[in-house]
């Protein structure tokens, strides 16, 4: 399997940072995603009018749809959590989708990016729990009766660590699997448009995986905010 040709890695080679570019393509492409999101966000929000322009309209539909869905899951008290999960969704969806452009590498196809997103979400879950319940947050981990604590506490702790693993590996596995299948199909039959159906599936998978990450984050936040059983 030949090494994939990545535009921005080649660009960095031209300015002499070839070693950095080859070792960390996911960092470079996440900078590209950040630049795209900042530029589009700035352009859409520059002149906010009552009758929205196209860019403003797109972002309004996207953000209001996500916010209504998030508040539907968490209840009205969870509205202040929306900025972080909305950002997570938009960032992961854009990261996944730029992988479909030829010459670009999706940053989420590297475990570093997905692990960072998963760590942020899970640590924030605990921050929310401590903020809402204080020291009584530990009751979430102790189960319903006091004599089951030695069994329930390790299970709950392992469950929380497993959340980090599952969030990061689900997204990483989907994106890396997609990249591998594309690479193998290009190697086998690239001249016959064989990878095209996989790329169509890739659009679907990109959006669904971003949405699943978003939904699981909201559900974890809701679980931390509510009272222990």
């Amino acid at each position: 399997m030949e090494h994939p040709y990545l535009f921005f890695v080649k660009l960095f080679e031209l300015i002499g940072l070839a070693h950095f570019a080859h070792a960390y393509p996911h960092v470079i492409y996440s900078w590209i995603v950040m630049a795209i999101l900042i530029v589009f966000g700035y352009l859409a929000a520059k002149a906010v009018t009552l009758i929205p322009s196209k860019g403003q309209n797109f972002f309004e539909i996207l953000i209001s749809g996500l916010e209504e869905f998030a508040v539907g899951v968490t209840g009205e008290e969870g509205r202040w959590l929306f900025p972080i999960v909305g950002t997570v969704f938009i960032y992961i969806a854009t990261c996944n989708l730029i992988g479909l452009v030829p010459g670009f590498y999706p940053p989420t196809a590297s475990l570093n990016t997905t692990l960072s997103c998963a760590l942020v979400v899970v640590i924030y879950t605990h921050v929310i729990g401590i903020k809402y319940h204080g020291a009584k947050y530990i009751k979430h981990f102790l189960g319903p009766v006091w004599w089951m604590i030695p069994i329930i506490l390790p299970i709950e702790l392992i469950g929380h660590l497993a959340r980090i693993l599952s969030l990061s590996f689900r997204l990483f596995g989907n994106m890396m699997g997609h990249e591998l299948v594309l690479g193998i199909l290009f190697f086998l039959a690239g001249a016959f448009f064989a990878p095209l159906p996989i790329m169509a599936l890739g659009i679907f998978v990109a959006l669904v995986q971003a949405f699943v990450f978003f939904l699981l984050s909201i559900m974890y936040f809701t679980g931390a905010m509510e009272h222990a059983h």
């Binding site: 590996f169 689900r170 990483f172 596995g173 989907n174 699997g177 995986q209």
Partner: protein, 93 residues
């Protein structure tokens, strides 16, 4: 030494092949059961088709992720197990 490293690699690759096949088998059955219930729900009550479809897609993504975990383990076995350097040297890369 080279013979045991090579036979270890052959065992790893065989295990990876069987592992992902069994995972895909289980995942197919699981998603098929979910899909059956979703389609039955829509057939009973066509108006709920939007909500049922969204729930179905979320459920399918969850079940799919179990197969993806098995895929990641298979990839680790083929490409990233601790003997990878020795194996690569053996095969002359």
């Amino acid at each position: 030494m080279e013979a045991t490293a090579l036979s270890f690699f052959i065992a790893c690759v065989t295990a990876a092949g069987f592992g992902i096949a069994i995972a895909a088998f289980g995942c197919g059955i699981g998603q098929g059961l979910g899909l059956r219930s979703a389609v039955e729900g829509i057939a009973r009550n066509p108006e709920s088709s939007g909500k049922v479809t969204v729930t179905l897609l979320i459920g399918l993504a969850m079940i799919e992720s179990l197969c993806i975990y098995a895929l990641v383990v298979a990839l680790i076995l083929i490409y990233a197990h601790p003997q990878a350097a020795a194996i690569a040297g053996l095969l002359g890369h």
